[in-house]
């Protein structure tokens, strides 16, 4: 394990990704201390100001400071990313282990259900549920979690299928350990690395989806600031205020990129043979 962490830290991309993620988390946690203005403080005499020393990233159509709003937006993006991934992890790992371990009819039923969810254009399903429920941050997290698990379930199932025939699992079965104990003590620790890779990539995917939804007005609702939502006003003022569109987009790009690079680096360290960038 220690050796692996050393290997990970030798990878420049991974270090860069970790650094950006660390900065983001710090910014999100200490948002009130860092941001120069309150995120929803309107100042109508300073509408649509260009980036300057007083407003690093300019102001929006209501005179709100973009830099401060982006710092608070980091809170939203990271929360959405982490919580939806927790939901994905719970559903995907559980269904994957059950499916792979029991096999037979249970496996068939779960896998057909997975096929159904995979065949949906996920974004349409999310759009549908969010629009018909009330769009708010909790629904966004839950819906992203509920629709993005099939990839993980398949991955875990494949891992469990190959583990199942190994001696130590057979011995555990022979010793009449309960299935729950076999899952948690013998199977889970052995499939943790692909799960880590997948969750790192999935956090990036969830942040992307959240910002797309917020951009379409279906995600985080105002006055809560979110990166996608700032971009919406960027679209409205596309002819006069480029800074509204540029900075939040770069923030999203960097965040998603860091999680992806980290995931790729973890994959390189733990098992260099596999390729987990499945469609998300």
């Amino acid at each position: 394990m220690e050796n692996n962490i050393k290997k990970l830290l030798r990878n420049k991309f991974a270090v860069a990704g970790l650094l950006i993620i660390f900065l983001l988390i710090t910014a999100a946690v200490f948002a009130p201390l860092i941001s120069p203005y309150a995120p929803s403080e309107q100042n109508l005499s300073e509408r649509l100001m260009k980036p300057s020393m007083t407003h690093f990233f300019g102001t929006d159509d209501l005179g709100r400071d973009i830099f401060s709003r982006m710092i608070y937006g980091a809170r939203i993006s990271l929360t959405v990313g982490f919580i939806s991934v927790v939901i994905i992890l719970i559903i995907g790992t559980f269904l994957g282990i059950v499916s792979g371990f029991y096999g037979g009819k249970i496996d068939y039923a779960i896998m057909r259900f997975t096929d159904i969810v995979l065949c949906f254009p996920t974004f349409f399903l999310i759009l549908l549920i969010i629009a018909f429920l009330e769009p708010n941050i909790y629904n966004v997290m839950i819906v992203i979690g509920l629709t993005s698990w099939p990839g993980l379930a398949r991955l875990v199932r494949a891992e469990v299928l190959s583990l199942k025939e190994r001696e130590f699992i057979l011995v555990a079965k022979m010793m009449a350990l309960s299935n729950i104990k076999i899952f948690t003590v013998h199977i889970l620790p052995n499939i943790i690395s692909p799960i880590m890779v997948y969750s790192s990539l999935a956090i990036g995917g969830a942040i992307l989806t959240e910002s797309s939804l917020s951009f379409l007005g279906l995600g985080v609702q105002p006055p809560m600031p979110s990166w996608g939502q700032i971009l919406t006003s960027g679209k409205d003022y596309i002819y006069i205020a480029w800074w509204l569109s540029v900075f939040p987009g770069i923030a999203i790009l960097l965040t998603v990129l860091s999680f992806n690079l980290l995931g790729e680096a973890v994959r390189d360290v733990f098992d260099p043979k596999e390729n987990y960038i499945e469609k998300q």
Binding site: C119, P121, L125, I252, L257
Partner: protein
């Protein structure tokens, strides 16, 4: 055509026969159909439950969430009485129990009737099918350019593994994989549409499209397509390219590549004649699997570019709670996805004779 239908039918009957094994099958017949046609039929039959699953999920998600489409029409109007609301719901059949509504929908769907749009009472089928060509045009163009760019990139970085160029390509691909498509669309619109003014930023036609000559029409259309296609291609480049790279790396390790080098062929010959074919085979499946992603992406950037395809129609229908149109689009995208997967599988079995169809 007639012949093809007969074969399809016979194949289907044969599949059911074989499944239930109640009837002894003549060996000759078995030989005749234990082939690609049989495999095709089986795939089609197996994908029907998936299609139904998708319609059930969409239908129930739509109907079980609070609020009815008629609320949008009546809530703002104080004159509407409760009685009038009920009558309106009866008109659309929304007062019946949900499973009966679903069976009604299935009954109409089997006859290829999606019902009338709640918004303007036009048949949902017509609304969808007049938008479909634009989406298919956009997505097939994107798919074409994705293959054209991603595959050579993947091959190049596999051949020059761990070189400076390989690392450069990798990092560029990671950036393109992480970039939000709607933001890229915005930036392109600002850059090429607003500041440089080269390209139109929305729609598919100019206002005076009707008066143009054929050549001008083509030119106008392609000008409008550049930005949406570019965004679509850039954001979906990474997956195919990474798969090409890893597939190519696997092939380059094989013994027959060593043999080819050993008999004195140069690198170019080895790669083009021996490695390429084998590395490209698995990509067929990946391309088939990428179809739902492409269609899902359409919902975002068709809305941004005001592109008249089913993505934007779907977004508008979801917003207006136009149940028949939403159901129609969900079903259609599911059918396209399943078809894409089946076609990819079939092509794969044709391309690679080592694959057995079970």
């Amino acid at each position: 055509m007639k012949n093809g239908c007969r074969h399809l039918f016979a194949g289907g009957v044969f599949y059911l026969f074989k499944k239930y094994k109640s009837i002894q099958i003549h060996r000759k017949l078995y030989f005749l159909y234990n082939n690609k046609m049989y495999y095709l039929i089986k795939r089609i039959i197996l994908s029907i439950p998936i299609l139904f699953g998708i319609t059930i999920i969409t239908f129930f998600v739509m109907h079980l969430t609070p609020g009815k489409p008629t609320d949008l029409m009546t809530d703002m109007n104080v004159k509407v009485t409760a009685e009038a609301k009920e009558r309106l719901q009866q008109l659309y059949g929304l007062d019946k129990p949900i499973h009966i509504q679903y069976f009604d929908w299935i009954k109409r769907f089997v006859c290829f009737d999606f019902g009338d749009s709640f918004k303007d009472s036009r048949p949902a089928r017509n609304k969808i099918f007049e938008r479909l060509p634009a989406t298919i045009l956009l997505n097939s163009l994107s798919l074409f350019f994705i293959c054209l760019i991603a595959i050579p990139l993947g091959i190049y970085s596999a051949v020059k593994k761990d070189s400076f160029i390989d690392k450069g390509i990798t990092i560029i691909l990671f950036i393109s994989f992480s970039v939000p498509s709607f933001w890229l669309a915005l930036i392109f619109m600002i850059l090429f549409g607003v500041h440089l003014g080269y390209l139109p930023i929305s729609g598919l036609y100019s206002f005076d499209f009707g008066n143009m000559s054929v050549l001008m029409k083509f030119f106008d259309l392609s000008k409008h397509l550049v930005l949406p296609v570019a965004v679509s291609v850039i954001t979906s480049l990474a997956i195919l390219s990474r798969y090409t790279r890893s597939g190519m790396l696997d092939v380059l390790k094989q013994d027959y590549i060593k043999t080819a080098y050993a008999k004195g062929l140069n690198e170019k010959q080895v790669i083009i004649r021996h490695a390429l074919k084998n590395a490209l085979l698995p990509l067929i499946t990946i391309i088939g699997l990428s179809i739902p992603g492409l269609i899902g992406g359409s919902f975002i950037f068709e809305t941004i570019f005001s592109y008249p395809g089913i993505g934007r129609l779907g977004y508008e229908a979801v917003m207006a709670r136009d149940y028949p149109v939403v159901m129609g689009i969900a079903t259609l995208t599911a059918v396209l996805t399943l078809l894409g997967n089946i076609v990819a599988d079939i092509l794969y079995t044709y391309a690679d004779p080592r694959i057995k169809y079970k």
